[in-house]
């Protein structure tokens, strides 16, 4: 390289002096465009891919919570429903799935309209005392769910002969890993993948077990009523595993976190609709598979998880236990990736504490403290000697069902407030449906309590 000839001025790389002075380092038109044309990684993305990604970006929360609904508690509860009552509870599944769509839709709308989570809104609208009551209710229900996920892992690994203390330790490690490592997005799709696989296994198994399709179809649309406490326990459990307190918080937080706004309402509704439809189909086939294999052959008393695995026998034969265990394990992990975080988040949001895994321990003591408490409590709980895991799975869902009316009342009160929802305010129609669902679930919980008290008295 040689020095430049003197030209007495400051020459700025290939720039034409514009009006009012020189430019800095502007590149002139003399770039090697040929070279750029052959660059491998062009930074422009084709339009169709952008559109596809945009749709996928919005699709998600409903699908994820749809699959997360069929967690360990879900699989256990649907299995028990089929084993104990055959096809009789199919109508509850259909009804609770329809209700799921409406409750999730309201939750999503609250998130879209306000950009705030459920407990944050509760705090702003009803003040700190009601918010505290709300959060405690939510946390009790969620703790039950987290215990169920631990029990699910314990039961699944137990089928391979792993002792409970080892499962409890493994489960605790798994939660921490799920929460702290890697991009949740990728993990989430892995969960959904496993969810799909297990769901397909149940569907195939149900078809192979030659169920009485006529009986199933009529049970789907004709409500079957009974005064037996066990029946109502199953009804509330089925509803409580489908529509969950944490699911309400989750859907709202999810749309907020994805920073969706009122303009995304239609995509979100589609997503929520698809999610509840998928949950519905899978839950129905779990019931049918259990009804056609165990209930039909008179094995209606269930004492351990291994029996529920036989519903997959028609498809997997001797490998049914392995398939069931893998499914239960994946379902539990799916729940564990979401519920503890959702719970800690829910509490912190109401009280304005730092929340999220981006903070250090010292910056967000409440958030991490809650997480540690949930995980520790659940791990210790399943260590109780002689604990019937299948009952834990089942009763945790009943607890969800019993606490659900309290949560739904708050959700519906928020949704009835025009100031909050603004342009997304519920019409008379949707409000009517939402309140009806809330009342029906509340009545069911009361009936269960009454049937239990009078049945045991």
């Amino acid at each position: 390289m040689t020095g430049a000839e003197p030209n007495g001025g400051s020459e700025l790389t290939g720039a034409e002096p514009g009006p009012g002075g020189s430019h800095l380092g502007r590149i002139g038109p003399n770039v090697d465009s040929a070279r750029r044309r052959v660059l491998p990684a062009f930074r422009r993305t084709p339009a169709w891919r952008i559109r596809f990604a945009a749709v996928l970006g919005v699709l998600g929360p409903g699908l994820v919570s749809g699959f997360a609904d069929n967690d360990a508690g879900g699989i256990a509860t649907y299995s028990l429903a089929g084993i104990q009552f055959g096809y009789a509870l199919l109508w509850v599944i259909l009804a609770s799935q329809i209700a799921l769509f409406f409750t999730q839709e309201v939750g999503a709308r609250l998130g879209l309209a306000t950009g705030q989570g459920l407990t944050g809104l509760t705090r702003e609208r009803f003040g700190v005392r009601w918010a505290t009551f709300f959060v405690i209710t939510m946390l009790v229900a969620n703790l039950g769910t987290i215990i169920a996920e631990f029990a699910g892992i314990g039961a699944a690994l137990g089928l391979f002969g792993v002792p409970i203390p080892v499962s409890a330790a493994l489960a605790s490690v798994a939660v921490v890993a799920l929460i702290s490592r890697g991009s949740y997005g990728r993990v989430q799709w892995a969960f959904v993948g496993i969810g799909v696989a297990v769901s397909v296994a149940y569907i195939v198994s149900a078809i192979l077990s030659r169920p009485d399709w006529g009986a199933a179809a009529s049970a789907l649309v004709v409500p079957h009523l009974s005064a037996a406490p066990a029946y109502w326990l199953a009804v509330v459990g089925t509803v409580g595993t489908t529509i969950t307190p944490w699911g309400q918080a989750f859907i709202q937080a999810y749309v907020v976190d994805k920073r969706l706004g009122p303009e995304d309402i239609n995509t979100t509704r589609l997503d929520v609709g698809l999610g509840s439809l998928i949950t519905n189909v899978v839950a129905g086939f779990i019931v049918v598979a259990c009804a056609a294999t165990l209930w039909a052959s008179g094995q209606t008393g269930i004492t351990d998880v291994a029996q529920a695995a036989r519903a997959l026998g028609p498809l997997a034969g001797d490998a049914a236990t392995v398939l069931f265990a893998v499914g239960l394990l994946a379902a539990s992990l799916l729940g564990l990736g979401v519920v503890p975080l959702a719970s800690a988040y829910t509490a912190c949001e109401a009280f304005g504490w730092e929340t999220g895994v981006d903070w250090r321990w010292r910056e967000a003591p409440a958030f991490y403290g809650l997480l540690a408490f949930f995980i520790g409590f659940a791990a210790l709980f399943i260590l109780i000697p002689g604990l019937p895991l299948i009952q834990v799975l089942y009763l945790s869902q009943v607890l969800n069902g019993l606490l659900l009316p309290f949560i739904l009342v708050f959700v519906m009160l928020l949704a009835s407030d025009r100031r909050i929802l603004g342009d997304l305010a519920s019409g008379r129609w949707l409000l009517g449906i939402g309140w009806s669902i809330t009342v029906v679930i509340a009545v069911m919980s009361v009936v269960l309590v009454w049937a239990t008290v009078s049945g045991t008295a």
């Binding site: 290939g14 660059l39 930074r43 705030q116 937080a253």
Partner: protein
């Protein structure tokens, strides 16, 4: 000292000690450093009435007493510069400017100065929460016996920036003055924590340059959201203020439609620069570089060069290095600002510059760029095209960003989290 929670619901009496109603809310006028209480909202049997401060004789934790026997039953109307403490602030989110985060209001603290109450601080600590739940006394007793402190946290009203809440009865017309004075990186942290609607409000109150500085510091995902929420005109204005390399990175992340709409509004110069940079692959020197740098011909003297720098007032990201180019635009040398300053004023640049400086090509990958930067301890490395022409520089901060990938996890569930969310 008085907490709002101690005043709400307390009885209001007239001059003859006759009960009139209960305190429903306090009104303050914003604008002052510590907004004074300008009136009460009193809940009587039948309705809420407004009592101006001039009619109030006494206000404390036991309630309020009026000066008059009769008051004009004024239907309460909120004036634009007034805030209702309970309806607009209590339990809502605010920005703690010092702490650079969004917190929730547990209680509000008032102090009496010269016969009037003023809002002085926001209680965001555990003590305020306990007070609101009505268990502060017992809790303090227990804490004292265990010799544990009760966590208290107050934020001075000066260091607070209200955000528009979902439910506030009014849009708070408080300028986001405190936020405008923050360091852009801190402002970005706060913007990341706000809901889109509040974010828009804050951005609207900033000038283009401040907005650009803050957006440059945000996470790529948030940048895209913010830009998509703005009008194309405003987005274009802000992009023009950003350094071209950051602007290009951001534009590259936008979808085709938004991108074209925004670029259409940009000044042709800046637009050409951005489009130019868009042509380079992201993980190459071309993709990392900025086109803002200072280059001079070798024939100047040191003094002339310094004058030139002043005259240009470069908004270049860095002027630590002055590059020397021949009339073809080929890179022939470099000198640091230090070299320039210590050189004799009449010295020729050609004599003091470092010849054949370390440089990278537009197609070199980021690892190579990082290697050069670290081997020669550079703050910036020049980028040349295949004809040796100087086309840009890669500054050290962009290199660090490129080789130390952002390892923060992205979990859904945390609106307002940095880098995304939660589960």
């Amino acid at each position: 000292m008085l907490y709002l929670s101690q005043a709400i619901g307390r009885p209001v009496q007239d001059r003859q000690d006759e009960p009139m109603g209960r305190i429903a809310d306090l009104i303050v006028a914003v604008g002052d450093r510590y907004p004074p209480v300008t009136g009460l909202v009193v809940q009587t049997d039948r309705r809420r009435i407004f009592v101006p401060w001039s009619s109030v004789a006494r206000l404390d934790a036991s309630g309020a007493q009026l000066r008059t026997r009769t008051i004009d039953i004024d239907k309460f109307r909120q004036r634009p510069n007034e805030i209702l403490l309970r309806a607009d602030l209590m339990d809502k989110q605010i920005v703690d400017i010092d702490g650079r985060k969004v917190v929730r209001v547990n209680d509000l603290r008032l102090d009496e100065v010269g016969g009037a109450w003023h809002l002085v601080a926001v209680d965001v600590g555990g003590a305020g929460l306990l007070r609101r739940l009505g268990i502060e006394g017992p809790f303090r007793t227990i804490a004292r016996n265990l010799s544990r402190p009760v966590p208290e946290k107050y934020i001075d009203w000066e260091d607070v920036d209200p955000v528009e809440t979902s439910i506030a009865s009014i849009k708070l017309r408080v300028p986001h003055q405190g936020l405008a004075e923050l360091h852009p990186a801190d402002l970005a942290t706060i913007l990341d924590q706000l809901a889109p609607r509040d974010r828009a409000g804050v951005l609207a109150s900033l000038d283009d340059e401040a907005a650009a500085d803050a957006i440059e510091e945000m996470e790529p995902e948030s940048q895209v959201e913010v830009l998509e929420d703005l009008s194309p005109e405003r987005a274009a204005d802000i992009l023009e203020e950003m350094s071209p390399d950051d602007a290009a990175d951001l534009v590259a992340d936008l979808d085709e439609i938004t991108r074209d709409r925004i670029l259409a509004h940009m000044e042709s110069d800046e637009k050409a620069e951005v489009e130019e940079l868009l042509g380079y692959a992201e993980d190459t020197a071309g993709g990392l570089m900025t086109t803002e740098f200072v280059s001079v011909p070798a024939t100047l003297t040191a003094a002339e060069t310094i004058d030139r720098l002043r005259e240009l007032e470069p908004d270049a990201e860095t002027i630590y290095y002055v590059y020397v180019a021949d009339e073809e635009g080929r890179l022939v040398g470099v000198l640091s600002l230090r070299d320039l300053i210590v050189a004799r004023p009449e010295a020729q640049i050609a004599d003091v510059m470092i010849r054949e400086p370390a440089a990278v090509r537009t197609s070199d990958d980021r690892e190579h760029v990082a290697e050069i930067v670290s081997r020669y301890n550079l703050l910036a490395v020049p980028v040349v095209d295949p004809d040796e022409r100087l086309v840009g520089i890669v500054t050290v901060d962009d290199v660090i960003e490129a080789v130390v990938p952002d390892s923060r996890t992205r979990l859904p569930l945390r609106p307002g989290s940095r880098g995304g969310g939660t589960a």
